[in-house]
């Protein structure tokens, strides 16, 4: 009997770690397979696509100094080798995906569990908040290990191919570097789960940290003389690992220190705060502020105002940085030429080098604005899934009025984000003594709106038809569109495939003129799908989570 009790106690002490590990490992396995597929595809297709030294040199010449692509996925080194190509294209993509996986997984298994009340049940067992968080983080680590093992296994398998030939140690280092952002943002997600009072806010905070790190890395990679800034960004540290192209394992030190530090802080905060509260929201008794509670439309502003301010502020900051560095980024002749080549490929043909740079990077802004629009659909679904909507629709409010208010707010956010980015970009260009006028910048701002409005409309339709899966579908559409637009033309010449990217229809304004037909079609489709979504929403059952 004594022995049985002992086993039970040990199990009780690790039950949270086991349940978290199970969920994180399942998710890590799915993403690990995705990472593995990307690695295999890239490693095995490169020797086929570029079989000769001449073809590889031509490829390296075309993309080796492309400032636009460098800004998005990092600098290319030794593109004439399969390792160099993988360390550029696959690595650049996988570190972004890894960070997204890490932060979403951590907030799902920590903050969401707490929000749903399940954490309370676990804490009622033989554990403390601090110990439970240690267990949960250990479980998250298991998820990362699964991701790492699968990525390493696929890289080793690809490396064993006679046309590829990676050493096992180089493959393992690649997998470590490729999944480093995943580990880092698992820890940061665990930390923001303690800082923010809801999962959505924890996600927003972690995503803002990632965006800031990413932008610093972009600037460091885009502007000559600012390469040192890479050491100011954790994403830059990961880039400095340089797998297959002169590995620098020392860059692992700050990554490990930050990961352990963030996890330790998460444990400390979890132990010092009350269950259900957050470090940044300790005060629960406040004076009532009813200014934005007079109607459902104003309620949307009250609920979403800080999300909107964060998006608009971040995008304006990004516009300002792009504007400021526009002149220096296109200063070097080689870079100047490559950006212009990229822009010409996307339909741009006038305005000079600075306009070409702005036009190319505003496609990135357009994708972010589309993500902001998708976030509004996600928030809308959250109101329904959490049961908040029942409280409104059981009263005098019409379904259509509520949905129109939410979509209207989303549209206003898109317009405000586009204008703010354009104006901030113009201020940046003017401050950096560039040569892009106010009207040209305003056109660039206008150009980012149609794709986001289409996403808003499509999201409304999906929400009206299939509310439970609307958000994931929408994010996949935006991500797909962005990736195809940015790197699609370098991996395929299939026009049908390239046409599936929403952003490619708009062109790199101000280097290209506004395509009024595309703007009209995308906006019109957005309106039509939104109206269809409105009709569908009025006919379906409200669906809980």
């Amino acid at each position: 009997m004594q022995l049985e009790f002992g086993i039970g106690e040990r199990r009780a002490a690790t039950v949270i770690a086991l349940s978290t590990a199970k969920s994180a490992a399942r998710s890590g396995a799915v993403w690990g397979l995705l990472f593995g597929a990307l690695v295999l595809n890239d490693a095995l297709s490169y020797p086929t696509n570029y079989p000769t030294v001449a073809s590889r040199e031509a490829f390296a010449h075309t993309f080796g100094h492309n400032a636009g692509i460098t800004a998005i996925i990092g600098p290319a080194r030794r593109l004439d080798t399969v390792g160099g190509e993988m360390a550029w294209r696959t690595f650049g993509l996988v570190i972004i995906l890894g960070a997204i996986w890490g932060l979403l997984t951590a907030t799902r298994l920590l903050r969401k569990e707490e929000d749903a009340g399940r954490w309370e049940l676990l804490l009622a067992g033989r554990t403390t908040r601090r110990h439970a968080t240690v267990q949960a983080i250990a479980g998250l680590a298991v998820g990362w290990i699964v991701l790492w093992v699968l990525t390493a296994a696929f890289t080793i398998a690809a490396g064993s191919n006679s046309n590829v030939r990676f050493s096992t140690s180089a493959s393992i280092f690649f997998a470590t570097a490729a999944t480093a952002t995943a580990a880092l943002f698992l820890a940061i997600g665990a930390l923001t789960s303690q800082l923010a009072p809801t999962r959505r806010q924890a996600n927003g905070l972690a995503a803002s940290i990632f965006a800031a790190c990413f932008v610093i890395r972009m600037v460091a990679d885009s502007v000559s003389g600012l390469g040192w800034m890479r050491w100011m960004s954790p994403v830059g540290w990961v880039e400095n690992l340089r797998p297959f192209t002169g590995s620098q394992p020392l860059a692992l030190v700050p990554i490990i220190l930050l990961t352990v530090g963030a996890a330790t802080l998460a444990v400390r905060f979890a132990g010092s705060r009350d269950l259900g509260t957050a470090v940044l929201a300790r005060h629960n008794a406040v004076r009532a502020d009813t200014r934005l509670l007079g109607s459902p439309a104003r309620l949307v502003i009250r609920l979403e105002r800080w999300v909107a301010v964060a998006w608009i502020g971040a995008l304006a900051l990004l516009g300002l940085i792009f504007g400021l560095v526009a002149r220096s980024a296109v200063g070097a002749a080689a870079v100047d030429k490559s950006v212009e080549q990229s822009v010409v490929r996307l339909g741009g043909h006038h305005g000079g080098a600075a306009a070409a740079w702005i036009g190319f990077l505003f496609l990135f802004i357009a994708a972010l604005v589309a993500f902001a629009a998708a976030g509004q659909i996600s928030a809308m679904r959250g109101e329904e899934a959490d049961g908040h909507l029942d409280n409104l629709l059981a009263r005098r409010l019409k379904r259509g009025t509520w949905l129109a208010g939410r979509v209207g707010f989303g549209a206003a956010l898109v317009v405000a984000a586009g204008l703010a980015t354009a104006i901030a970009g113009w201020i940046g260009v003017a401050g950096g003594h560039g040569h892009v006028g106010f009207w040209a910048m305003l056109q660039a701002g206008l150009n980012v709106m149609p794709a986001a409005l289409f996403i808003l409309g499509l999201g409304t339709l999906l929400y009206g038809l299939v509310p439970r899966i609307a958000t994931p579908i929408l994010y996949v559409v935006v991500l797909w569109s962005f990736l195809i637009d940015i790197i699609g033309s370098s991996i395929t010449s299939n026009l049908l495939l390239l046409d599936t990217a929403l952003l490619s229809h708009l062109g790199p304004v101000p280097a290209a003129s506004l395509n009024w037909t595309a703007i009209g079609v995308l906006t019109g489709l957005g309106v039509i799908t939104a109206l269809a979504g409105l009709a569908a929403f009025q006919r379906r059952d409200l669906a809980a989570a």
Binding site: T198, N284, D289, N391, R395, R539
Partner: protein, 306 residues
Amino acid sequence: MTTVAAIRTVGLTKSFGTTVALRPLDLEVSDGEVLGYLGPNGAGKTTTIRCLLGMIRATAGRVEIFGVDAQAHPAEAHRRVAYVPGEANLWPGLTGSETLHLLGRVQGQADLLYQEELVELFKLDASKKVRAYSKGNRQKVLLIAALSSRADLLILDEPTSGLDPLMEQVFRECVIEARARGQAVFLSSHILSEVEALSDRVAILRAGELVEVGTLAEMRHLSALSIDATFDGAPPDMSRIPGVSAVDVEGNHVRCQVVGSVEPLLDALVASGVHQLLSREPSLEELFLAHYGGESAAEKDAVHAA
């Protein structure tokens, strides 16, 4: 002059795929009436309420709230309705008073003096954010919002879950006051003593089907009366008396149940020299269990037969 019912359902049916959650339901609730709506978990109580409010679409049938088709024109039907859901899901970032303000505005009507009185009665600290509230306190916010609207119809789904006994008593007094003001109340609850104390009529739902509806007196009249009798000598054979069942003899003491007229039983008892006689009407709990006990017994028999 014909009065319009607060709630009227005709053949109301709801299916989720191949699962029938609600079989054709015909029900009426009048002004100033409290209807207790009973049923075990999964019987279809919340489905009924969500159909009444137009939150889910009826597969067939019709729902009227004060004569307005609630499925076709839910917002219009809701003008005279206040609702307390079974789960108190509120916006965690709003305080109690902000939530009451918002819900009052969306409702379109709120008796603010009564609302203040209710905040006092329910002992709610309305300055706190919802995320800091216990389940019971979140429930109080919804109850105060609904009651202070003075709506003509209150639809309450498990309204006292999470409330302590003192607050439950406050709730009962509020419902009695609402009924006295002429408000209709549709009360879905598992707390049978609460339904027994408040309801004018009771409807019992089983597997999506209405199996009983009526006043408690009617139900009791149709149900078995419990009889305890003590005799001076050996008790008579009572099993052949019309309406008598479940006869249990213990020495000179007999327990049994009688349905319908008690006259034949009384004649037999008097003729046999009854010394002491106790009769008791069934409680709502016994009536409720009688409906579900039968189902459980049938299930058991089915299992044994298999």
